[in-house]
């Protein structure tokens, strides 16, 4: 095989190089300059993002266990782009521990992204699991990295304990699957599934539960609010999006790709989980006083909506899940970055810190409003299309009840989103001076606004891209079979 830029593993190799470089700088320069490390990481991510555009579709490596299909390439773009935004947003972090240990922070972050990239291409159970862990373990570390001294380690430890439990469930499930199929190849799953072996179903169900933890679906969602509340906000902005996307990619690979009509077995389970997740997420968001906890629960509800699209188990449904992920990326990251800006100025992450923001910083308030409206699914911002599309996909499968439930709870979601808007626009400010927004944070917020409004006004290219990405899942039985 000759070397070329479109080969699989090229972005992964680049990230690995970046990771080593950051580690070395951290070892040589003590303490490493956070600005240097941060910019280096950002440029590295940006470069990797560029590399993903050269990736050739359909290329495989290692006897087909590592494949770059359109879904893999699409999700790699998503992972790297969101990580780049997060790094850009965190460049202005001032916390002491972050300043002192910037190299470690970024090293661990890159490792996690690397795990995601491998995961996106993995066509083999062991590789899938290992890359999943490569993604997850750094998340535990990063959660406890900065911020309030007692809360962060506590949240990190909790996250780690439950995360490990879920990983155990995954491994347990995988052991059944390998036991039945006698192979670690994902391509062996469809045939085994069709045979209706109960052990196979048990394995797959356990695996689904484990993955449900990663995407924070009910009842595996409980880690999310605690973790979000304690960890540093730019990291949470990314944590709330990228690992969930990775979870979805894994689910798509395991349960949909190449399975054919047999995949419909999963429809009732996924629909039930989707419905429960939407209900709990939205209802539990209502009594929250902390904006990050509110966004955590609302994020859980969004996962529920994505599961609605997934429950359709159709090409269109998968595409719309991907579309939803992108819309959620911009809307949710944007909201978290505004939270970061306000929290930094007010020293508070309570929703009350937003009081009278419209009078103090009208543009920042407007940005937050746009993000909230997008999350709430108001036309014509990105979130509206996202919700509409997953609903349409579900209706194609006749799941009217689920769509109705989802639509009703959208109203509940609007209620708590608009509670924040009300604080910003109607209630009087406690203080009057402007909220200082660091330039880089402003840039990131602006990018997210562009994304939200752009997708809302002109969803076409995104729909095309996601449909293209989803198409590979339903292409003729995967080429990776040896």
């Amino acid at each position: 095989m000759t070397f070329d830029i479109g080969m699989p593993m090229i972005p992964e190799a680049a990230l690995f190089g970046l990771m080593v470089l950051v580690l070395l700088i951290g070892l040589i320069q003590r303490p490493a300059s956070p600005a240097l490390i941060g910019w280096l990481t950002f440029i590295g991510f940006a470069g990797t993002f560029g590399l993903t555009f050269f990736a050739r579709e359909g290329a495989t490596l290692f006897s087909g266990s590592f494949a770059n299909d359109s879904l893999a390439i699409f999700s790699k773009k998503l992972f790297v782009a969101s990580a780049a935004l997060s790094v850009l947003g965190s460049l202005t972090l001032r916390q002491g521990s972050f300043q002192r240990r910037a190299a470690e922070y970024h090293f661990v972050l890159i490792a996690s992204v690397l795990g995601m990239l491998v995961l996106a291409s993995a066509r083999e159970l062991i590789l899938l699991f290992v890359s999943f862990e490569l993604m997850s373990i750094p998340l535990y570390v990063l959660t406890g990295f900065v911020k309030r001294q007692d809360a962060a380690p506590e949240a990190a430890l909790k996250f780690f304990l439950v995360g490990t439990a879920s990983s155990a469930v995954i491994v347990y499930g995988i052991s059944f699957i390998i036991g039945v199929t006698g192979s670690t190849d994902l391509a062996a799953i469809p045939t085994a599934l069709v045979s209706n072996d109960p052990m196979m179903l048990l394995g797959m169900t356990l695996l689904l539960a484990g993955l449900g933890f990663k995407i924070a679906a009910f009842p595996f969602h409980m880690w999310a609010p605690d973790t979000y509340e304690a960890a540093s906000t730019p990291f949470v902005a990314w944590l709330a999006v990228a690992p969930k996307a990775a979870g979805f990619i894994a689910i798509i690979r395991l349960y949909v790709e190449g399975v054919g009509a047999a995949t419909l077995v999963w429809m009732p389970v996924v629909a039930a989980v989707a419905g429960m997740t939407i209900i709990t997420g939205n209802l539990m968001a209502i009594p929250q006083h902390n904006i990050k906890r509110l966004l955590a629960y609302s994020g859980i509800a969004h996962i529920g909506y994505m599961l609605v699209g997934l429950a359709a188990l159709s090409a269109n449904g998968i595409a719309m899940v991907l579309f939803y992920l992108v819309a959620y990326l911009f809307g949710n990251m944007g909201a978290f970055f505004v939270v970061e800006a306000v929290a930094r100025s007010e020293n508070s992450e309570e929703i009350d810190a937003f009081k009278g923001l419209a009078q103090r910083s009208p543009l920042l308030a407007l940005a937050m409003l746009v993000f909230l409206l997008s999350l709430g699914g108001i036309p014509f911002v990105a979130g509206f299309w996202a919700k509409l599309y997953v609903f349409l996909a579900a209706i194609d499968r006749g799941m009217y009840g689920l769509v109705f439930l989802g639509a009703v709870l959208t109203v509940v979601a609007l209620y708590y989103y608009l509670l924040v808007a009300r604080r910003m626009y109607i209630e009087a400010p406690v203080r009057t001076e402007r909220v200082q927004v660091p330039t880089l944070l402003g840039v990131v917020i602006f990018i997210c606004i562009l994304g939200v409004v752009g997708m809302g006004a002109w969803p076409r290219p995104w729909v095309d891209a996601t449909q293209h990405a989803a198409a590979s899942v339903f292409a003729a039985p995967s080429a990776s079979t040896k």
Partner: protein
């Protein structure tokens, strides 16, 4: 060549939105006022230039240019596009819109020169948004884009009527205009959606070819076209939805010229012209259109005769002329209605801007406060008379041919009733317009006007008393002349007047003598019998003569003339109680209904909803209980979840 006209139309369309975005986003620039005004005017001029070029190309092109981008995707197909449909019809409409928009913006620089800078910038932002929306409406390739632009022009109309929002009457008029047109719009939206259900497309070209090939099912089509017509009724002020238009005169006069005379109010007519092949399939609806149009024309003409406010005369005259256009469409000759739309756009803008010049000079809207202005402002008087003669339908003036064509079309369609109504309206139109001319420009200067001039304040006591008496608009705050004598307006205002006057004359002369493109248009409408032209002109001249005798020579005492029509006059002064009926409907039926609904809402709906929302909030609180913060509980959660999932899978099998 073809692509060129598409691109040109696109440029014409997008220049105003560029101007709007600049003014809206770069607010320090907007707050400068004058530079913002000139910037917006420049964009409008550019739009006009490219509109003319597009029209030049498209008027000889064989095929329309359909330049669209897919929008609103769903799985596998596109519900609607955005873009432009460039054909002869839409480009000439584009020319009219951009020309009047440009002239009005130019004129407003002079007219609103006392306005504070931020308000001026806001005014021009609205103007730009309006120009964009109206052009988008004209160029719309599908009904969805047309509807969106339709709503946008409604929004701009609302914003501009209420431009002086500190004034309660302006704010009220803005709301009234918005709600009444909105009532029609609801019908229109229903019609569009039903049409989509029927035909599976919003695209005008596709619908047209379906209609041409009889692919459209006729069942239920009447309801659809009637719903579309409802929208047109609201926008084009057809009875009984005409009540908002006279009140809309609360906006600045240039706004009235642009939106409430030349462009937006003709959108309803344009919609019907654009879809005349659809209406042709439903002759029963066309009959309704014709009768309501003719009735509206008459009603508004009668109302115009008793108004003392110069702008209200023009407003009712606009309603009346819109009725004319609608009648032509109802007669099945949309081209005649469209031609009248174009000529009317020119001369009515001219009349409004002329009236603006008068108001600017006198500081009052009321005819009794004017008089003898021809000596002080001869140029304004001249162009105003040109406009008046056009409106009266006198040969070689702009409105002559289009009016004749409408009359010929209505006669040719054997609509004798509407035809007689329109004939009567022709006489009335000449009468009330020359009443304005004689009262404002000839005769003796009014004493009250002198008082108005002497006072340096913006409103003078007689005006206020008068306004209070008639429950009408207080003097426009634009400009009250402090010199003792009225004088010609500044060049920024005179120039647009002359451009429009010359344009009206050129169109009039060319059409009267069948020159240029009018020969072809004429050939199409050549159904009129020979006696029609002399009769129509004769009726108009009779109307002029009566006005002359009454208001100039005082040979006929206006009082005795009024008494001769006693009951009609007093009824007309009360606007035939139509506004009162609306008021009554509003305050008794609607408010009464609202009270009932309000009670139900407060005690029943709110009760249930409060209960539901309480439950929801409570459920949220209860659910919080599962979030104990203890990791062992979380792991229990995972375990329980696994079990439930396994059970679920068992249930499935």
């Amino acid at each position: 060549m073809m692509a060129n006209s598409g691109a040109l139309a696109l440029i014409a369309w997008l220049l105003p939105i560029f101007s709007f975005l600049v003014l809206a986003i770069v607010f320090p620039f907007r707050r400068l006022g004058r530079p913002a005004a000139w910037f917006s005017t420049l964009c409008a001029a550019g739009a006009f230039a490219s509109a003319v070029l597009a029209w030049r190309i498209q008027s000889v092109a064989a095929h329309p240019v359909h330049l669209v981008w897919p929008w609103l995707p769903t799985a596998g197909k596109t519900i609607a596009d955005v873009g432009v449909l460039v054909d002869a019809q839409s480009t000439i409409m584009l020319c009219l819109v951009s020309l009047v928009a440009f002239l009005v913006q130019f004129y407003s620089v002079g007219y609103l020169h006392d306005e504070p800078a931020p308000a001026l910038g806001r005014y021009y932002a609205y103007q730009s948004l309006f120009a964009f929306s109206m052009m988008g409406l004209a160029l719309a390739p599908n009904l969805l884009q047309l509807f969106m632009c339709w709503e946008l022009v409604g929004l701009c109309s609302y914003l501009l009527i209420g431009f002086w929002y500190q004034r309660p009457s302006a704010a009220r008029a803005a709301v009234k205009a918005f709600w009444i047109t909105k009532a029609g719009d609801v019908g229109m939206l229903v019609g569009i959606v039903m049409l989509y259900r029927l035909a599976g497309t919003f695209d005008i070209t596709e619908l047209h070819s379906m209609a041409a090939s009889n692919a459209l099912p006729l069942a239920g089509l009447s309801i659809i076209t009637f719903c579309l017509y409802l929208g047109a009724m609201g926008k084009s002020a057809q009875f009984p939805f005409h009540v908002w238009l006279p009140d809309a005169m609360e906006g600045p006069t240039p706004v009235s010229a642009l939106i409430h005379a030349a462009t937006m109010v003709t959108a309803g007519v344009y919609l019907l012209v654009r879809t005349d092949w659809l209406f042709a399939l439903t002759p029963n609806v066309l009959l309704i259109v014709a009768w309501i149009g003719a009735f509206t024309a008459l009603l508004a003409a009668v109302l115009a005769c008793v108004q003392d406010d110069i702008k209200r005369v023009l407003a009712y005259s606009t309603v009346s002329q819109l009725g004319y256009m609608m009648t032509a469409i109802g007669a099945g000759v949309a081209s005649a209605g469209f031609l009248h739309l174009l000529t009317h756009g020119l001369f009515k803008a001219l009349l409004f801007l002329g009236a603006g010049a008068v108001i600017h000079a006198v500081g009052s809207n009321d005819l009794p406060n004017m008089g003898g202005l021809a000596r002080r402002m001869p140029q304004t008087a001249l162009v105003f008379i040109i406009g008046t003669l056009s409106l009266a339908g006198i040969p070689i003036f702009g409105g002559y041919v289009s009016k004749e064509e409408i009359l010929g079309a209505v006669w040719g369609a054997h609509l004798t009733g509407p035809f007689l109504l329109l004939m009567l309206v022709a006489g009335l139109t000449a009468f009330y317009m020359f009443r304005v001319v004689f009262l404002a420009f000839f005769g003796t200067p009014a004493r009250v006007a002198a008082v108005a001039h002497a006072g340096a304040g913006h409103t003078t006591p007689p005006r206020v008393a008068h306004a209070a008496l008639h429950n009408e608009a207080v003097v426009e705050g634009a400009h009250v002349n402090e010199t003792p004598h009225a004088h010609e307006p500044p060049a920024t205002m005179l120039l647009p007047l002359w451009v429009l006057a010359v344009g009206t004359m050129v169109v009039g002369v060319m059409s009267t003598f069948h020159l240029g493109g009018f020969a072809a248009a004429e050939a199409a409408g050549e159904t009129a019998p020979g006696w029609l032209t002399p009769t129509a002109v004769g009726v108009a001249l009779a109307g002029i003569a009566l006005a002359w005798a009454t208001y100039q020579m005082r040979a006929v005492n206006p009082e005795s003339l009024a008494n001769a029509f006693g009951p009609i006059r007093s009824a007309a002064l009360r606007k035939f109680w139509i506004d009162d009926i609306f008021e009554g409907i509003y305050s008794f039926v609607l408010l009464g209904f609202s009270r009932i609904v309000g009670w139900i809402d407060r005690y029943l709906v709110d009760g249930v909803l409060n209960l539901l929302s309480d439950w929801t909030v409570q459920a949220g609180d209860e659910l919080r209980g599962i979030q104990t913060g203890k990791p062992q509980d979380y792991v229990y959660g995972i375990g329980a979840g696994v079990l439930v999932l396994i059970l679920l899978m068992r249930l499935v099998f």
